[in-house]
Subunit: 587 residues, 2 copies
Amino acid sequence: MLIESIHSPADVKKLSSADMRHLASEIRELLIKKLHKHGGHVGPNLGFVEATIALHYVFNSPEDKIVFDVSHQTYPHKMLTARAGAWLDEARYDDVSGYSEPSESPHDHFIIGHTSTSISLAAGLAKARDLLGQKHNVIAVIGDGSLSGGEAFEGLDNLAEQGTNAIVVFNDNQMSIAENHGGLYQSLAELRASNGQAPGNYFKALGLDYRYVADGNDVDALIAAFSEVKDIGHPVVVHINTVKGKGYAPAESNKEAWHWTMPGFDIATGARKSGEWIGSRVADHLLAKMQEHPDLVVINAAVPAMLGFDKTRRERAGRQFVDVGICEEHACAFASAIAKGGARPVWSVASTFLQRTYDQLSQDLCINNNPATILVTAASLLGMNDVTHLCWFDIPLLCNIPNMTYFCPTSEAEYFAMMDWAIAVRERGPVAIRQPENGVATNDAAILQDYSSCGYDITRHGSDVAILGLGNFYKLVGELADALAEKGINATLVNPRCATIIDTNTLESLKAEHKVVITLEDGVVDGGFGDKIARYYGNSSMRVLVRGAAKKFEDRYAYSSILEANGLTVPQLVASATAALAATRPQ
Amino acid sequence: MLIESIHSPADVKKLSSADMRHLASEIRELLIKKLHKHGGHVGPNLGFVEATIALHYVFNSPEDKIVFDVSHQTYPHKMLTARAGAWLDEARYDDVSGYSEPSESPHDHFIIGHTSTSISLAAGLAKARDLLGQKHNVIAVIGDGSLSGGEAFEGLDNLAEQGTNAIVVFNDNQMSIAENHGGLYQSLAELRASNGQAPGNYFKALGLDYRYVADGNDVDALIAAFSEVKDIGHPVVVHINTVKGKGYAPAESNKEAWHWTMPGFDIATGARKSGEWIGSRVADHLLAKMQEHPDLVVINAAVPAMLGFDKTRRERAGRQFVDVGICEEHACAFASAIAKGGARPVWSVASTFLQRTYDQLSQDLCINNNPATILVTAASLLGMNDVTHLCWFDIPLLCNIPNMTYFCPTSEAEYFAMMDWAIAVRERGPVAIRQPENGVATNDAAILQDYSSCGYDITRHGSDVAILGLGNFYKLVGELADALAEKGINATLVNPRCATIIDTNTLESLKAEHKVVITLEDGVVDGGFGDKIARYYGNSSMRVLVRGAAKKFEDRYAYSSILEANGLTVPQLVASATAALAATRPQ
């Protein structure tokens, strides 16, 4: 294959136009083959093959620095920068991450996985270059979906003022993960329709120079456009019109479904297994609730399918479902104000993306104490395991903001009960609920219906050791109790229900017959639930063992290894508990 | 005075045009009089007097809902909504807050103090209205400075798509707190120069309808414009060109200095006392460091004076000082990338505004582990005391993100030593330093120069009780030790230096001769430093007392009362420590 002769971008520069078109088809073939076996981002990569070849043909990476927004379109870039082996050889599929990764290659400058940051990062690289008296091109690659995030606006606005070399390749494939949302997209459509000439030009309004490429999958047109802006002395946007999913018919015809894929689809037809999962049950539950409450509105920032709201369900919900695009800050303030206005907002957001809106959670929502409901999805060590998408920092994020209540149900039944209560009750402050992840235990206890003043639920009374299993980790409690029973310890089991409630009555009552308390939480321990319990018992003789994940960035970890590394396996927990109990006995 | 006859907006509607002009001059007189005695926001209020009168003349508040961005321009609004007493009567000056406050009046809908949120909040109110089948106008008032924040872009973009009634009054006074920054401001200038006709229209590019009012301090012109858009069926921007500081000559001529004022200026001349303070010493120190390191760049988001970088110092710094405008997200990613590019970024940000960039701290900075330096200012219970500007949530915010190091110096000398080390050393990850606040003790111990692998500093060896006084609260340590000595307790004193380091050697060594550890931190305890110490000692017999502020929003508090309320006075601490120590003794 031609790709096997590409050892660095220098080899791309030797290719003829025909070679490059051939290379593009090889890249697509390799992409589909690995995606079929391995899963990953489909549409973003297929649409950006020619642009990647053209970038490496025109610019001199790594001296010229390319920053990819979200970096989910970097597979072709990786293939052209000495990492094609991770597509050519199935045994090496896991050699590379799904995102840009400086530890893999000098052609990658940042670890990136959240959107809308590339222009600010490119502005910083350009500023460093200018301060150090260097000369090279800095290029940001950003898609139309990412433009709806406020940080992309901030970056463009500042880049214009910075005034020195910076090239923004605006990859307009007319899709976010689902369809785009926002007034901006109408004026982008007008730019495309007018071959870049329409007067309502967002980029020019921000003071930026602008070029348009009508066919962003034509490698010759791209090379011409990039050559024209290479070494330019001021910031410029090169707007390229591409086809998301280009070259794979199923992905071209259903762009939303083929943004990303699990492995195992049928290559010829694109047929995929569909399965029952919690998302679709939640969506159906919310659709039913919308009938009951015409003022209930479900809000989501650009990942509606993560919530089970596929196209059909979005249509059924009508104006009671709002996708705001990729802008969690707006989503949070919007939800707070809807609650203030007397309606019932339910905002669903993945744990990792909740991070994008700390200040709005604090200022717009919690200071104002409005009764919005937040469903936090994928929040678990079982959630996404790329370092940029870790879903286990939400407990410290939410729990240290006053007025926020963060429920952590232990089962789907408990989750729906909490959700129903939150939707029904308006005399309350902000409530977030952590969607239980696969494999949570069904708590056999009767499910509480009224959470207005709930405390911890002691599900089994024992002595010596009390185990507080928060949310998803309640599932560890039963097994641990059985194992402790074998050591003659009859542990007390507790479902705390909520990460923000310190149930002092229960905690005090445990002092009478217990010497050790173990807290278990499915997230980072620093700043989390267990730390608050440790503080509570700090001025007492109670021993407290706080167990969860250590404060550390992990990448592409196995769930079982992270449990092991953090002393969360049942044998490890038994050993810790028995040792702690022994230490409390008079010598 | 005419203002005394205004009991509600209904009374404004009865006024003639001449009456309204007279009312405007009365409002200005009252503003200056109270500002002179009380301090507060000057320019934003003076410039928005006529617009406030016109809004209340045309619209029917509170049915029609006005949301003020930042809400630092709401003094005239408060006067017209039954709160003029708080300006007319010196004894009632403190009846109102400096921001919009629903508990004061039904004409205020949100507690707001951070910028760029008004459009998202208005969008939410409009959505609730539409869901509930109500009819009323929703109006957002936003200044040009606030437009540089990404959330304002997100709000505008979404408002356009929402498509129903919403009116954005864009108050363009050609100033942020200091001068504006960003490419957008050039196209806004072109709109003003062309009476709203220039083609590069940011709002139209986002799909919004648009009107222009050339003199935004002409109440008749404003009434005409607002009347035209009242009950409009789609979103519209009314761009009004106002004069910041209008009607008070010193404020008109020096807009940056008169954005906000302390009390006590000379009304006739505007002369104010200038004093030495830590900000100017930090700025001078950084200017000197810029000479030494031509690749050092100081970054700030729109509050350069908080860092001591007044106009003169900004000019001296040249390209080594960057004000990015109000956009902390960009500032954070920009700083990370400058560090990655090989230069030395120092980003200064107030504790309360650091909250606006959690995700960039985590993703762009900490995951990438780049050696940027952050100076966190005003971070203390002694910082700003409005509920929207609390400066004591930064420890949990920063300390629970992996790879972040958060130094908390106890004195100015230690602060500069840490800063110098951070600027000099590039082989490190992200470092934040908490600027010491007024009144911190000078730590007599020799100041460490190399912080590469520092641990806690035991400044006095004692027994039984060890006191860990973090940063600003190290000042409590000496007094507490003296008071404990009177009870026969010879306490050990520790300067932990850093909120993110758990110095296990020191903590273990304390076990030998101590039974009680007290942690003191100048911030909220939840998720902070003390919680980590409590967890560390959780599985031991050490008693830990964690002291700081309770997790609770406080508004306009007195420093002394918040210490008292949290058991932080020396007598309270002595009582807690002696009781804890007594409890460890065999009965």
